[in-house]
């Protein structure tokens, strides 16, 4: 402005400072409340209204959810203030000041390092807790004895992906050839592994590994890095050219895990029944290999197989870890430290020591990192206390929509049980079944009588109430339909709250100068994820092999990719890597364990893979539609101009 005031820094008093800080905090919180609102209210309403089960520990959950909101607000602010500018600066300086070899080494270390820091692989391992060594030997091997190899192979996959991503920016290669090549390797490999019993169960894990690698810290950092590099190199016409690394970081690990599986395939036995596993008539060496030694095998039998031939359909409940608040607290903040500090230190050291750059706005960046740390810690705590518990509750009660399930938390001990009240009923096939009447409040309900639940010495009968099926008959269509609708809305709502998607949306809107609005991206991705989760639950309910559910969408995706413009291909494929984050993954796993445990499937993997492919379809479709309307708008005026000149010439 045209003034001549010579001004220095203004001293801000405490109240004035508060006057600035409070509205700022309030604005950030409102944004997060809006994004978290859908999933939280949906879960609560669903459990209470649709499943008729009250929510346990409601106040803890409420507190946990408010922590999630605060955590998200701080974390996102820290991302935009500190982490992303750091990544962008590095991206700008790196190609200018280093040679190609340094850049590639840096990329590989970055990719590998972030995978080791992100906790998502551990989450998958906990999901694999229900896998039985006789049903899926290869899967069991990789999830337990060789789990480090699994993590390393995923890390190597991400490292190579980042290397290729950087090369792409430096030499202006299109993303499409990469996608076509990778998919033309992965899809046939997936089809081929369908025909091998061992590999078949591994495919779900492989595709899920790809989906979870890119977490809420990696993604914004990698995107910022890409944007920085594309500002300096290539003939890009601005806009969407910094994307694509997230996509590669989601596809390469799948290849890595499948290759790992192929490597170990010959060392493990084929899937067998539990009887064969215990009796060990054949392939005993291979079975021992799963556990590392014969002793390991004997340990497992002793721990897990209590009675000979336990029934295969044991309902799997998630391990009820009664963590004390203290352990939860420390683990949340330690997790945040582990996810953020090594990465930022790596970037700082690279920037200051190897490239020898002065970092601008250092105070903002440090504040940003601090906010991100605190935010992530609070967020993790909130998930553990609130959202995770809520998800577990809903997930385990969900099958009651279509099945009768036991509710162990509401177990009642009946005293002075007199066996003479037990009556006998007859079933259509002639078998007899015993039951007795229980009076609860004012109504009489019939309860099946089980001899083993009665302790004759003390006269106490242990009764575990049964709930459901609420909608229709057992395994009826209506119940299943309710579950599918639940899955869709849960996927939709959880994605709306994901921080990495938020960061992607803001970046896309910024780079396209507002032509691609953040809310449009978030909405289309969320709808895609909802559909994906719905398909994934179908896979579990109807026991469809994962190959059938993966191949058709990916083929469709190939077609759409070829037809779409580079801009939308980059954004669309990246939104897939972004979706499965700290909010969606625990909820999806709870859902998978709950439903899968009821159905008794071999493994509950694959939902996350579906949740990754469908958003790409939705974003690419929207992209095609937008491109079409833009082209029409250009053509409309062109056609009239042509028509005019023709008329003029005749």
């Amino acid at each position: 402005m045209a003034t001549n005031h010579k001004e220095e820094n203004i001293k801000i008093g405490f109240t004035e400072g508060l006057g600035l800080i409070l509205p700022y905090i309030r604005q950030k919180l409102t944004e997060q409340i809006k994004s978290v609102f859908v999933i939280v209210s949906y879960l609560i309403l669903f459990q209470v209204l649709a499943l008729h089960v009250p929510i346990l520990e409601a106040s803890t959950i409420a507190f946990g959810i408010s922590l999630v909101i605060f955590g998200l607000a701080f974390f996102l602010e820290g991302l935009f203030l500190g982490l992303m500018p750091l990544g962008e600066t590095l991206g700008i300086r790196l190609p200018q000041k280093s040679n190609l070899a340094t850049i590639l080494i840096f990329s590989f270390l970055l990719g590998g390092g972030t995978t080791l820091a992100e906790p998502a692989i551990g989450v998958l391992k906990s999901a694999g807790s229900s896998v039985k060594p006789w049903e899926a030997p290869l899967l069991y091997l990789l999830l337990n004895r060789f789990s480090e190899y699994l993590v390393y192979s995923v890390g190597a996959g991400v490292g190579i992906a980042v290397v290729f991503g950087m090369l792409r920016f430096l030499y202006d290669w299109s993303l499409k050839p990469f996608l076509l090549t990778l998919l033309s390797i992965l899809l046939p490999l997936t089809i081929w592994s369908y025909f091998d019993a061992n590999l078949q169960s591994l495919t779900g894990l492989a595709w899920d590994c790809g989906a979870v690698t890119t977490g809420p810290v990696t993604v914004p950092l990698v995107i910022a890095l890409g944007i920085g590099i594309s500002r300096v190199s290539g003939e890009s016409n601005g806009g969407i050219s910094g994307f694509g690394v997230v996509t590669l970081a989601s596809l390469f690990p799948i290849l890595a895990v499948l290759i790992l599986g192929l490597y170990f395939q010959s060392s493990v036995p084929n899937p067998m029944t539990e009887k064969e596993f215990i009796e060990l008539s054949q392939d005993s060496q291979k079975v021992f290999y799963i556990f590392g030694s014969e002793d390991g095998y004997k340990d497992y039998i002793a721990k897990n197989i209590s009675s000979p031939l336990s029934n295969g359909n044991m309902p799997i409940t998630p391990p009820e870890e009664e963590l004390s608040l203290e352990t939860l607290f420390t683990s949340s903040f330690l997790g945040a430290l582990q996810a953020i500090i090594p990465l930022t230190l790596f970037l700082f050291i690279f920037l200051t020591v190897i490239i020898r750059e002065k970092i601008r706005s250092l105070d903002e960046i440090i504040l940003g990192i601090f906010l991100a740390l605190v935010g992530m810690g609070i967020f993790n705590l909130g998930i553990g206390l609130g959202l995770g518990k809520l998800g577990n509750q809903v997930g385990s009660k969900l099958p009651s929509a279509f099945r009768a399930i036991e509710i162990p938390e509401s177990t009642i001990h009946l005293k002075n049980f007199d066996p003479s009240i037990v009556q006998t009923s007859i079933m259509p096939n002639g078998e007899k079944d015993e039951f007795f009447y229980l009076k609860e409040k004012k109504s009489y309900t019939s309860v099946p009588f089980n001899e083993s639940n009665l302790d004759r010495a003390s006269g106490i009968y242990e009764y575990v109430p049964i709930h459901g099926p609420i909608y229709g008959k057992e395994d009826g269509a209506l119940g299943i339909f309710v579950v599918l609708i639940f899955a869709f809305v849960m996927g939709y709502g959880a994605t709306l709250a994901e921080p990495a998607l938020n960061a992607l949306g803001v970046t896309v809107e910024e780079l396209t100068v507002g032509t691609f609005k953040k809310r449009n991206l978030i909405q289309s991705v969320s709808i895609g994820v909802g559909s994906g989760i719905l398909l994934g639950v179908c896979k579990i309910l109807f026991e469809i092999p994962i190959a059938f559910l993966l191949i058709p969408p990916y083929l469709l995706l190939l077609v759409l990719t070829v037809l779409s413009s580079e801009e939308f291909v980059n954004i669309g494929w990246d939104s897939a890597g972004v979706t499965t984050g700290p909010i969606t993954v625990p909820l999806v796993l709870a859902l998978g364990l709950g439903v899968g445990g009821q159905i008794g499937v071999v493994e509950g993997f694959g939902i996350l893979a579906m949740a990754s492919v469908c958003p790409i379809l939705s974003v690419l479709s929207i992209g095609l539609w937008v491109e079409r309307s833009r082209r029409k708008s250009m053509e409309a005026s062109d056609k009239i101009e042509d028509a005019q000149s023709k008329r003029g010439n005749s």
């Binding site: 402005m1 045209a2 003034t3 001549n4 005031h5 010579k6 001004e7 220095e8 820094n9 203004i10 801000i12 400072g17 600035l20 800080i21 509205p23 700022y24 602010e77 203030l81 600066t89 700008i92 200018q96 000041k97 280093s98 040679n99 920085g228 500002r231 300096v232 190199s233 003939e235 016409n237 601005g238 806009g239 601008r360 706005s361 105070d363 903002e364 504040l367 910024e510 780079l511 396209t512 100068v513 507002g514 032509t515 309307s629 833009r630 708008s633 250009m634 409309a636 005026s637 062109d638 009239i640 101009e641 028509a643 005019q644």
Partner: protein
């Protein structure tokens, strides 16, 4: 004494689809070292179907645009503009605009960015005179509603770009994170006689009289060829209104006929505009903030910054001879541009300070040019207002 040169700045705004075509045409003609930024052109969409008649307001369609800033000397001005007009087909409404301004360039280093020779043979279609540009800075997000109002009233077609602002917030230390930096920059070129009316219109629509809402100024335009398509509607007729307007422009040899009002609306003559020099500074990415911060002590209280990309000759080898030393740092394609409104009396002092800070050196590779701003407006507190009035009298 810092040398100065009279030159011309050409701004070309056209649909992103033509980016490579225009760039290669310019490159082959010998125009290099131009700055590029992305932008958007809002257009009113067509109300379709049942819901169209129910919803009152028209939807806005945003078109992605590429904006080139080319600096050249007067003799080459028309040629450059013709190359752009031909390759982006600007005579078709909706494709874009191109216009030129008279500027003064300072310092030898800036010469690197000026195109002084061209090889091109192109026919000379006339351009229009009598245009004025309006430049408006608003809080991020306000650009859209104001563009809509501008389009609906048929005033013209605005271009929206993103920028960040410096000013009050930089004096707050860490507390500055509580004030958002992001700004929407709105530019529109209109008939000169309409300029004051349009400025008043935008000031009212954006409530720029209130503090912190933004600021607006007008700048003179030499020659121009402007997009007229405000809405997509009109495909029903043989020619749409934009083509009719374009045809009439051509017949009348200018845009004067479009004058809407000859009198300034009463009631606003009490609005106090001020004037100054708009100083544009382009430099390598990352350095603009520190230069502007150092200039604060000289009275430059605020500036607007944007990210630019430098498009250079493509067959030059990009590798520097010595990666280690700073002696031969090439100009980074990642550039920043900032502009600040300064009083004419401070100009010399500011330029000398910039030179002493190394703004024109090899590390920062700065370029400076200025334009005269006849009229500017923003919120002014009473105290400042009186000091400005005392200054001018």
């Amino acid at each position: 004494m810092i040398p100065q040169y009279k030159a011309v700045k050409i701004t070309a705004i056209f649909h992103k689809e033509f980016h490579y075509k225009v760039w290669h045409a310019l490159h082959d003609a010998g125009v290099y070292n131009l700055h590029f930024e992305p932008g958007r052109y809002p257009v009113l969409g067509i109300k379709k179907g049942f819901f169209g008649s129910i919803i009152n307001s028209d939807p806005i369609i945003d078109n992605p645009m590429s904006i080139f800033s080319i600096i050249t000397f007067t003799d080459l001005e028309e040629t450059v503009m013709q190359v752009i007009r031909k390759n982006a087909d600007l005579q078709i409404p909706g494709h874009g605009s191109v216009y030129s301004e008279s500027i003064t360039v300072y310092h030898e280093n800036s010469l690197y960015f000026i195109t002084d020779t061209m090889k091109s043979e192109i026919n000379k279609d006339p351009f229009f005179k009598g245009l004025t540009g309006i430049f408006c800075i608003l809080q991020r997000g306000l650009g859209e509603p104001i563009s809509k109002i501008i389009l609906e009233n048929g005033i013209g077609v605005p271009t929206v770009t993103y920028g960040t602002g410096t000013g009050l917030r930089d004096k707050l230390g860490l507390l500055k994170i509580t004030l958002p930096r992001e700004k929407d920059i709105l530019k529109i070129v209109v008939n000169s006689s309409d300029a004051e009316h349009v400025m008043n219109f935008i000031i009212e629509a954006g409530r720029l009289e209130s503090p912190g809402r933004g600021f607006i100024y007008e700048y003179p335009v030499k020659n121009g060829f402007i997009n007229t398509r405000t809405s997509m509607d009109g495909v029903r007729h043989a020619a749409n209104i934009d083509q009719i307007i374009a045809a009439l422009d051509k017949l009348n040899g200018g845009v004067e006929w479009r004058k809407r009002s000859s009198t300034i609306r009463t009631g606003f003559s009490t609005r106090k505009f001020f004037n100054g020099i708009d100083l544009h500074f382009y430099c390598n990415e990352g350095f603009a903030l520190e230069i502007v911060a150092a200039l604060r002590k000289l009275g430059v209280s605020g500036s607007t910054m944007k990210n630019l990309k430098l498009l250079t000759k493509t067959d030059e080898t990009e590798e520097t001879e010595d990666v280690e030393s700073d002696s031969k740092v090439k100009i980074s394609p990642a550039r920043e541009g900032c502009n600040m409104l300064v009083p004419e009396s401070s100009l010399k002092e500011i330029l000398e300070k910039m030179e002493s800070l190394g703004a024109f050196g090899t590390k920062i590779q700065g370029m400076v040019y200025t334009t005269k701003i006849p009229r500017a407006f923003t919120y002014q507190s009473k105290a400042k207002l009186s000091s400005i009035l005392n200054q001018n009298s």
